[in-house]
Symmetry: D2
Subunit: 291 residues, 4 copies
């Protein structure tokens, strides 16, 4: 994978047909260009387009460069109240928006989010913005959980290594006041045990979304899913409306993304920043553009 | 499990508030009585009611008896064109209707059904009645496949024991003209390898329904499901509208159930019939009521 | 119409099967009892039950009495943070919740609400709680508009008597930054000119909900509705989930209803209070129960 | 309006990126080209694109010409079993498909279609193909009704000029066995009295679709729509999937369109054919291309 797909920038030039942005506008940049002709594109699911050209996914280059060419309708003007830094975080936020939409979160509902990394945290924040009353963060890392609780979660839960998925689920339900289970669960961890636990934590007829990437195959409690008549969904990137919704959530103060920027580094320090992130020293490092 | 939940009968007595059926009516009998007060019942999903009293599921007795008491609204009058024998098959047909609705089959779509036993066959018939253009039957039993092809399937497929789930799926797609995969897949087998294959046979954004009962936990290609953004659903019994839809499908000649009755036995032969069915000597044995 | 259907109370006695509330609990009381047996009830739309027994709709008495008998599942326990006064306002709030759900308001959307009386105001508050970014209040009464703006609306609009519905709509779109029209419009006025204006204010493919009661027949721009491919819906009372969602919105501080209580009167002053309300001297008068 | 938007043809040349059709293929031609960049296009509703270039809608020319340039993905290959004549009728059939999808017709349902002209007839045929059990044709022209009954309707109804919309509706419900009203109604007439009658013929919670074009404003029973909580929708042309579904319905023998061709005329006779159609001497006249 070539690096760089979470980015914002300033419009330098526009084609004659572009009307939504003009030179000088600060914009969030949606990194994938669908074909616009296939069935998926025409049915409103361009994220599933088989001919997608996605920045930083070979053979396509990433956006870490001085000038980047992008169709006008994949640029989203940032309001004056939003910084370019926040604009760069629209990409992971759009991932969280898409996952949370897949989960169908409606006002008054409860959701359990497994994994308190960047995507999980953003799912919690979006779920809250969508009106969820109970947002449970699940993680084994106490510091992440603490952050999640301050940031967006209403409850934090640490699974014990000695308990089974069913036991963890029962404890989450009891400790977080979920009565017969949560309306939805989101996995943003990719961890097998989390995915298993999620199937037991959701109520009959509830929804589960696989947002995290992990092992291709896992041991899965399919009969629990079947007899509880769960709806489980995958989530892949973002599609129509997700990017603009993400900008809107930040612009209207419904979701805050600044907290996720651990450090701002110069372009020259980019390589070191990638190394540090791998060691989990921060949530998101922001690389400033070259002057 | 106490036996007997697929049944029809003749109304012998009605309470004073019953208006939908009268004494002498021949009716299909829906075997589960929900509480009518819980959230699931009031939201239209009474099949998920935690207090369901279901015939033949302990502690509730089955319907193999002379008189059976049942609420009026769970009796469905059979039109003159339908026999009591067909009425008894409304139950498994309602299971197939519910599964096929969960799969969201719409006219023009394609669906692959794994397992050509009674439920699988009925799913194929319902899918066709719902307008599916391509209905693929998958089974390892050649005789069942042959029956499926005559009964409702447009294509029949025998997986090879030497190929992987991905290879089977690729071959189904190619041999049955599914282009980028089927719109939906239904498992009515409960077999691990079928469930795995199904995840690869469905197109991006398509739907999978778990209808068959099998091992509680299986090895599952969760990342395929995730990146293809599948919607996968469980299916449990039947809910509002399924039973009446099942009667309507038979009454209007859209689905035929007579073919599924392998043999009609007397009440006294019931025990032997259950033994024979276990040995897979037939699809469905029909037990006549005592005179 | 017999009076009294917006009420709360304290549980005095419970039947042996009741588990959700106990003696002494303070509860909001949902005033309509559906039959639980018809197709509408079983499909999750009990508000459309033809055999509904609704308090204060003849031949059924209203709730203005010392003791009122009601099924347990139509009582909603008020959390300690909610007063009985707020509990009485759950009824009109549930009306607003149902209308706003019919409108399908999702986070980031825009909605124009016609009529700033109690129901219109509550629709605005619910729409905001559901995540609407733009909530336009439309009314000819300047004082109501001022209240709406302070209470929940982001924009207020006074139509001019000299302009056509199309002209009003064009001005709303322009003055409130709605670009190609609003995502949704709600009528809570019942006024012909409002209903007409609403059809022009909604964008192509948007949603309109008729919440207000007025003349049975009006002059309606059906071709505008047709070529813009609007979805228009009626809204009748409330159904599964609306009452509990209403309690939850108040309990979690997402909607405030106290502002709508203009005055609290004693039981003996009830008659005068009804007279005063007719003269529009207040929004809602609250009648305290007899000691 | 410039003439010609219902057409089929033979591919003469293809661009280098076209993969779905090749030179010599016989194709149905979808006459509208959306912008592919706006919100409507990207959300799957390209029929609502404000920048649509639609054949025969000024300033765009119609398709009555020797060669017509069209994007590859708006050409739909006809199977060998379909004639070019049938291909030309895919356009009005796609209109019927879109209307019937808007009506949400599912297997087992009932629908009343007002107007037995080409669009109404095709809606009836599609509704039946979608599984409707009761399809009522309503028209004042007895000959059209007779044709409708032979073609696709299960019931035919002639409203009396002396009865009110409510009375007509009551009589339709009674005579066609609709119990509490039809699940859906479609207007394909544009006539005020039909639109009014439709609101009374649909059951509580049912669906109404405005398919016919007529007077811009009509007298409309809005309170009936409101308290019955109807969903009413406009329908405009066709969108993603409708054209391919229309080809599939004919190809699989689910809908027959040949009956709608009253006469086939030579290119030179086109003008006279348009005159004859205006006098309602036939349903559809087919104009053969120049040799």
């Amino acid at each position: 994978m070539v690096l760089g797909h979470e980015s914002s920038g300033i419009v330098k030039e526009v084609g004659s047909a572009v009307t939504n942005v003009k030179v000088g506008d600060r914009v969030a940049m949606e990194p994938g260009q669908p074909c616009r002709h296939c069935k998926q594109c025409k049915s409103g699911n361009y994220n599933l387009c088989p001919d997608m050209a996605f920045a930083a996914t070979p053979p396509y280059d990433g956006t870490i460069c001085r000038y980047y060419r992008i169709p006008g309708d994949f640029c989203y003007k940032l309001p004056d109240s939003m910084s370019l830094e926040e604009g760069a975080l629209v990409e992971p936020l759009a991932v969280g928006v898409h996952i949370t939409k897949q989960a169908g979160i409606r006002p008054g509902q409860s959701v359990v989010v497994f994994g308190a990394g960047p995507v999980g945290l953003l799912c919690m924040a979006v779920a809250k913005a969508f009106g969820a009353d109970i947002v449970v963060a699940v993680d084994v890392n106490e510091e992440r959980l603490k952050f999640a609780k301050q940031y967006a979660a209403t409850h934090a839960f640490t699974p014990s290594r000695s308990e089974s998925p069913e036991e963890s689920a029962a404890r989450i339900i009891k400790e977080c006041g979920l009565e017969v289970g949560s309306d939805a669960a989101i996995d943003a961890s990719g961890a097998e045990i989390c995915i298993q636990t999620a199937q037991y934590v959701v109520r009959n007829g509830g929804t589960y979304v696989q947002g995290g990437m992990g092992k291709p195959d896992i041991n899965y409690p399919i009969m629990a899913m079947c007899t509880k008549e769960l709806t489980t969904k995958g989530s892949f990137r973002y599609s129509h409306g997700d990017y603009s919704d993400a900008v809107g959530l930040v612009a209207h103060g419904r979701v805050s993304v600044k907290e996720l920027i651990s450090k701002k580094v110069k372009f020259e320090e980019a390589e070191q920043a990638f190394e540090d992130t791998k060691k989990a020293l921060g949530i998101k490092y922001l690389i400033a553009g070259p002057e």
